[in-house]
Symmetry: C2
Amino acid sequence: MSVVHRLTLGDVLSEHRRGRPLGTAVVDGPVRLTYPELDERVDRLAGALAGDGVRAGERVLWLGQNSFRVLELLLACGRLGAVFCPANWRQSADELAHVLDDLAPAVVVWDESEAVEKARGAHETRGQVSLDARWVKSGDEYESYVSAAQPAPVTATEVDAEAPVLALYTAAFDGRPNAALLSHSALIAHSMALLHIRQMEDGFTFLACGPLFHVGTMMFTLATFQIGGKLVFTPAYEPVEVCRLIEAERCTQAFLFGPMIDGLVEANKDRAYDLSSLRFVAHSPEWDEMITVDDSPWCASTMGGYGQTEVGGMLTFLGLGMGGAGFAGRSSPLVHVRLLDADGEEVPAGEVGEICARGQSVFSGYWNRPELNAARAAGGWHHTGDLGRREPDGTLTFIGPRLRMIKSANENIYPAEVERALKSHPAVADAAVIGVPDDRFGQSPKAIVVLAEGAEATAEQIVEHVRGEIASYKKPRDVEFAGSIPKKGYIPDYDALDEQYGGGAYPGS
Amino acid sequence: MSVVHRLTLGDVLSEHRRGRPLGTAVVDGPVRLTYPELDERVDRLAGALAGDGVRAGERVLWLGQNSFRVLELLLACGRLGAVFCPANWRQSADELAHVLDDLAPAVVVWDESEAVEKARGAHETRGQVSLDARWVKSGDEYESYVSAAQPAPVTATEVDAEAPVLALYTAAFDGRPNAALLSHSALIAHSMALLHIRQMEDGFTFLACGPLFHVGTMMFTLATFQIGGKLVFTPAYEPVEVCRLIEAERCTQAFLFGPMIDGLVEANKDRAYDLSSLRFVAHSPEWDEMITVDDSPWCASTMGGYGQTEVGGMLTFLGLGMGGAGFAGRSSPLVHVRLLDADGEEVPAGEVGEICARGQSVFSGYWNRPELNAARAAGGWHHTGDLGRREPDGTLTFIGPRLRMIKSANENIYPAEVERALKSHPAVADAAVIGVPDDRFGQSPKAIVVLAEGAEATAEQIVEHVRGEIASYKKPRDVEFAGSIPKKGYIPDYDALDEQYGGGAYPGS
C-alpha cells in the first residue's frame, strides 16, 4: 500500500464518515442520513449485492425516479468495483428493454411505473436472459434487502480508481443509445473542477430535482458528495415541492433551467416560500428578487460552458474565459482540448474542427461497443462528435454537431458551420446544409433555407453573406427555400433532407 | 495513447499556450512573457538541459533568489522527467554544500551571492564530485544558454505524471534537511484543492514575494500556473517594491504574513500605492482599508489549515470545517487523513494520534533516504511527525510535533499534548515535557514549567489542571519550575532538557 493513492468514491465516503460524523448526507422525504449512517447502509448494500453475484465489472441497474438510493447504489457498486447505471425512466418500454439487453445487469432495482412494467413485458416477449437478474423493488423490499445483508468484507474496498463505476446512456441521434462508462478517477476529477468554478464550499446543499440519469444533475450530485455537502432528493420536478424543499433544507443550488425556473416563479408568486438560500443565475426580475443572484464564474452564462456525458459533464467553462470571444470559454483544468481535422491534425485558430479531449475526467469508452470506442478514441483523442473553433484569444466557440462531412474537391465542409453562417443572416429563420453530387468537385454543399416571416432575401444575397462569414469554398453552391426543416430533436433530419433535396454519398463520413 | 490521461505540468503549459495565447504568464522586472513565449523558452531550455545530460530522474538545482527562471526550470525539468530543486539561498555555505553533495545535480543555475560563493568553496574543499555539474550563472550567461539551444524533441513530452518533478528541502529540527519529492500528479492535485478553497478564478495574479524554496510560496505559484493566471516575481520581500508591484500588476494575492503585512502598511502609510486589487485576509484597520478583504473560506484563518512540504502544502483546510471545534478544519478533498497510534491503529475521536495521510497530493518520499522513507510510509500511511486530534464534530486539531514518545506502563504519552494542557493553565507561560526513568512505570512524564510574570501556581495546582484537560495517566508525575525553556527554533530543545532534568531512554521512540 502506497501513500500516493488515487481516491475512489468509497474512499471519499470513508473520509466523510470521519470528518462529518454529524453532517447530513442525504434527505429524501422522511429519510435523513448522516454520513456515518450512509456509510453503514452502503457497506450493507454492497454485501447484499455481492451476495447476488455482483463483483468487479458486473452491472447494477436502477429503473426509477430520483431517490437517495441512486447515490447509495452507486457507492455500493463502487465498493465492489462494479458499474451502476441509473436508466432513463422516461424512455419507452422498448428502449428500456433494449437497455436491459445491452447492460445485462446482475441486479435491477425498480420503481413501480407503467414504463418499467411494459419494459419487463417487452423483454420477456423477446425471451432475453437478463430477467434472470435479481429484481428488487424499491421501497420495503429494498429496505429488507439491505437490512438482511452482512456488510461487505473490508477487502472489497481495494478497488482500482481507474475502474468504471457509473454508466450513463447518452442521447442517440442515430441508432441505439450507448452507455458511457465513467471511472472513480474521472468523476472525482470532474467534481474538483466543478467545485472550483461553481464555488461549492463547505455547507453546500444541492437539490436533485432534475433527472439523475442525466449528467447535468448527476455531476452536481457528485460534486456535492465530494465536498461532504447535503444532498436533497425529490422524485421529479414539481414546482411547489421544489419551493418547499429549498426553504426547508436551505438549498444552495438545484438543477434548474429556464422553463423550470418560470414554474417556480409562478408557484411562489405569493412569496409563500423563502428561496433566499438559493444561489443561482439571474433569470427574471421576479426570480432575482426571490433568490441570491450568484456571481461565481459558473453563472457567467446559463450553460456554464461546453460538455457532454462522455467527459463526465463539462469539458470547458465560460468562467475560465471571462470576456473572451468564444462563449464556451476555456478548457477545464484537468483536460486537454484540441480541435482536430478529419485526419487527426490540429486545425489553426479561427478554423472549425472537431472538439477532441484527453484528460483525467474523460470517460473510459462505451459499454459493449468496441468498434465505436476505437473510432471515437482515434489517435488517443476522444472525438466528441461536436464542432468548435478556437478564437484568437484562445477561447472556444461551439459550432454544432459534426454528424457528417461534405467533401468538396479536397476540402472538408461541416454542415453545422455553414448553417451557423446562414442563420446569422437577418432574413434567415432556419437552415440546413446537405451534400449533393457535383460533377466538378465530387460533392458540393446545398442549403435549404427557411426565411423569417415577412423577410425577403435572394439566394445570391444569402450566399454572399455566407462568403463574408466563412471560407469561400464552404459557401452553398445551391440554395433552396422551404417552409420548414424536418428535425430529429433539435437537429435537422439529414436523412429526410437528403431524400427530399437530392443529397447523399458523403465520402468523408 | 489513451484518452484517459493524467496531466503533467508540461501538459498544462501546452494547454495554456492554446487557451491563453495573449495571456501574460510571468512578469519579472523588465521580463514579460505570454504563455506561448514561456512555452517556447521552456522547450528551448529543456533542449539545453538535455544537452547537458539531464534526463529522466536527473536533478537540476537553482541557487538564487526568486526569479521567473525558477518556474521555467521546473517546467523544463518536467518536460524531461527530471527533478528540479530551488535551494534555500538563506542557508549557510555549509548547508548549501551539503545540498550539493546530497542532490548531485547535473546542472546548477546560480545567482551571485556570498552564500553561493562560500558553498562552492566549502564544496571544493571537500573534493566532492558534483562541481562537475554544468554551472550556469543566472542573467546573460543563462540567456545565452537558453537561446543557443535547440528545442527538446517532441518525444520528451511523454513523461509519467507520477514521476517526481519538484524537490523541496524541508526544515530539519534534527540532523540534515531532506528533499521531499513531489510528482506532477501530486502538485496538480494540490493545485486543484487550493484553487477551490482560495477561489482562485480566471484572471488571478499572484505576487511571489515570499521565498520560492518554501512550499507556502511555491504552492500558490503552481496553483496560479494551473489556472493560467499571471505570476509576478520579485527577488525577495522589499516593502515599497511589493506595494509598487501590487498596484502596477493589479495583483490578486501575494505571499504575506503578519510582519510582512505590517511592513506594507508602513511603506504605504501615505497611501502612495493603490493596493485595492489585493484580496487578502483582514489584519489591521489600516490594512483592511488599503485592500479588498477576502471572504473566501481560505481566509477563515491566517494559516488556512494544517500542512507541510511532504503533502505538497496543505493537508487540511479550516475553510472545510467552518464553525467547527478543530482549528485545522477538515481534510483536503483529494486526501485521506487518519490519526494513528504507535502501532498504526486509528485512535478514536477525542484521542491524540499522529496525523497520517494518503492520497493524490502526498509526496513520493525523500530523495536518497530509503530508511527514512520506509519509516515514514509505514503501513501505507505517510506519517507527518505531527500530532492531532479529531473533535466530536469531525474537525481536526493540530497538537504539536510528535518528535518523541514517553512510554509509561503500556501507555503512550506525547510531550506536545501534555505541554498544550500545561500551557492552558493561566499561570503558565511556557512548558516542556520529558520522560524520566520510573521504577514502577518504566518511564513517566516530567514537566518543566515557566510561570508567567507575576503569576503563582503550585506544582499540585498545575498537575490538577492537566488532569482536568487530558487523560489522568498523561499528567506529569513531577513538575520543575524554570526561568526559560531552551529551544531549537520554535520547538523545545529536548536533548538539552533531558540532559539538564534527567530525561532519556524513550522506549517508544
